[in-house]
Symmetry: C2
Amino acid sequence: MSDLVPNAASDAALDRFLDDTKDSRLESFKALLRIASISGIPAHAPDCRAAAEFVAADLRVAGMEHVDVSETGGHPVVYADWLHADGKPTVLVYCHYDVQPVDPLDLWESPPFVPVVKDGQMLARGSADDKSQLHMHIRAIEALLKTRAALPVNLRVVFEGEEESSSIHLDAWLESNKGRLKADFAVISDTPFFEGNRPAIVVGLRGLIYFQLDVTGSTIDLHSGGYGGAVDNPINALCQIVAALKGPDGRIRVPGFYDDVVELTAADREALARLPFDDEEYRQSLGVPALHGEPGYTTLERIGARPTLDVCGIWGGFEGEGPKTIIPAHAHAKISLRLVTNQDPEKIFGLVAAYIEKVAPKTVRYSIERLGDGKPSLTPIDGPTTQAAARAIEASFGAKPLFMREGGSVPVCASFESILGFSTILLGFAPPDGRFHAPNEWMSMTNYETGIRAIARFWDEVAKLETI
Amino acid sequence: MSDLVPNAASDAALDRFLDDTKDSRLESFKALLRIASISGIPAHAPDCRAAAEFVAADLRVAGMEHVDVSETGGHPVVYADWLHADGKPTVLVYCHYDVQPVDPLDLWESPPFVPVVKDGQMLARGSADDKSQLHMHIRAIEALLKTRAALPVNLRVVFEGEEESSSIHLDAWLESNKGRLKADFAVISDTPFFEGNRPAIVVGLRGLIYFQLDVTGSTIDLHSGGYGGAVDNPINALCQIVAALKGPDGRIRVPGFYDDVVELTAADREALARLPFDDEEYRQSLGVPALHGEPGYTTLERIGARPTLDVCGIWGGFEGEGPKTIIPAHAHAKISLRLVTNQDPEKIFGLVAAYIEKVAPKTVRYSIERLGDGKPSLTPIDGPTTQAAARAIEASFGAKPLFMREGGSVPVCASFESILGFSTILLGFAPPDGRFHAPNEWMSMTNYETGIRAIARFWDEVAKLETI
């Protein structure tokens, strides 16, 4: 793989080790992907436990110390460290071993937990988000320790099992484990490259609010002929609420919702405009008739720097074939909001809940169940660690990384800052079109292999830093 | 059962026959209810066929002639006749042997196709709508033929198998069977009594339009973080369309929708106002926080004489436990409209489709699949056949029937008029709170037993008529 290193001195022994262990690495990656560690579905709790144990065993094989499958009250956190690089920085590495649900199952080309490599793509649930990146970190550690008997920096790893179900127990776990989590900064590997699979470092992430809205009408389904016009319909009422939350123009109508949003500066807008991105190409790749979003902002601005609201699921009444004429007893929606810098999830949820109370018809009842949230975050581009990551990426992938704002949420980023007191580098390697959360999720095996080398180089770059 | 006949001369032999055959009648009714003849679900086609054969065999046992399981291209129609009452009127009797789907199955107290009698209620899918009434007609015929060796009138029966899936093939069947369908008028038994189980004759029925609206966005589910704000969300778009169709006030917003609606006369409104009906009692029985509908009309006016729009089912995206953060690729709704006198389903569908085209966001694609329709109908209260039915009801149930406008649709009513050229009496016996189309559908066994006597008496009353 040394042809991937055009402009940096290479570690020949490390490269040879990685070349020699390619087959066993692939088998180990597949073994991890076979575990159905869906954290959001209670029936999969044993799979999450199995994934944690698998990861812990793998960390021991790689040479990490103090490996611990640590209880959280939910799915465990896997902790390990190696702290023998005296005088060198200490870095906390975060990935997650849990995955999203897999339905609709019938849209998968092959079963989601039967990993298959095809045309350089590893197809499986979790292949991109986030098992590949977790596995890459372990392999980089292993390669360094096997070839040098030491790491260039001190490392602590925190591999979580609840990222896909809003990291419910992580904050409390971070609080109570503060003593063994001291570090100079954190690296989170859970983000994608830019469009066209261009290497990128994410410097902005959106926050999240996720809740379920349940609307109920009569105690039983009613005949739509005998009762239509006499009582309200929970589905119609739910649609009214959803339509009231966000206008056809993509603007969220909740009063006060945009008050705390930090507007993009002219420099921010110029930087985003310089990114190689084509609206029409993007539109075609998604197969939509037109792009859509808040007026006055470019697509990249809307994704990276503006908040949104999406219904992730809706259901109620009859879903079978043919006509069934009922007014259903209840209807349901799962709603996510993406937040940007300075929007506080707690405050915004309060505004949303108050607005729903105002717009919900009084002819039905409703309830809201919160299913998690996360704070938005933004990292300085010119910081020494961000620049060290950029050098490691360029050395391995042969191209300078782009600095991008990603629309997704990694709530743990904000937790590291507020609970542990240090900043985070988002060093991710997933392909941007990797179908995270969707059927046929895939990981680029080139990104995977080259990324392992980039991670090892990053530790070498960090070891050289005089300030963090 | 002769104590049920307070003010009419009784047929002692007929009453005795019905008393003596009560147990076998119950078993035969249960056997019919055990057949899962769900016409709207293709997998249940063999059950529909089995129900048709069961009904045909039962008609032969009862003594009917020319019994025919007649092909329609869909589920068969069961035809039979008895035409030896020379000089007497000929009546066409219509019921249907098919039933609605049964989901949500987990809300049934006992399995929907395992009929159980409890506290005088027969609990099963189709027990009220409409197998009971079909079975009552056969039993009345049987009782008359066994005790008198003749019927007082000439009868033709048409028992349909697609009423719950919009009678798709019935019109064509009526056209091609005109020759054997000559009659003076029709009797449809597929309607309920009034609130409080008061005997009633339905003199108005609403029409129906039913369609499925499918909205599609991107070709695959997208991560709501990575793409939220860049593309429209099919669920949000669907909710916008639904919210645009009907306002929070219950008024349908489709331009021209109300143009052909025949307004209630002062006399109509007085007649409806005289019916014993209490809004608060009704509200409590349904368990809703408030009644709801078009302003300016009473509840009975809204149900009986005003059109409505209801979403009968909606689905899209993630319906599982916990949070899953996607923008789904597609979303779907099943929508029914109830029409009133002079609203033509074809014309109204055109208006609705044009309006959806106008309000649907151009950032998604959509398609509409029509799943059936039916014309509204209204019957004169003072006609001789309506009055004959009223006398038969009073003689059997001991109370004058109310004349009501029902919100449901029996499209065949309009077909009898337009294709066969005769009017219809809606003589139904279901309990008004019988949970038609919902879990735990039930039939009052008192209505069933007394109704058989009322039907037999109705034929005696019709035989006495000098004009129809």
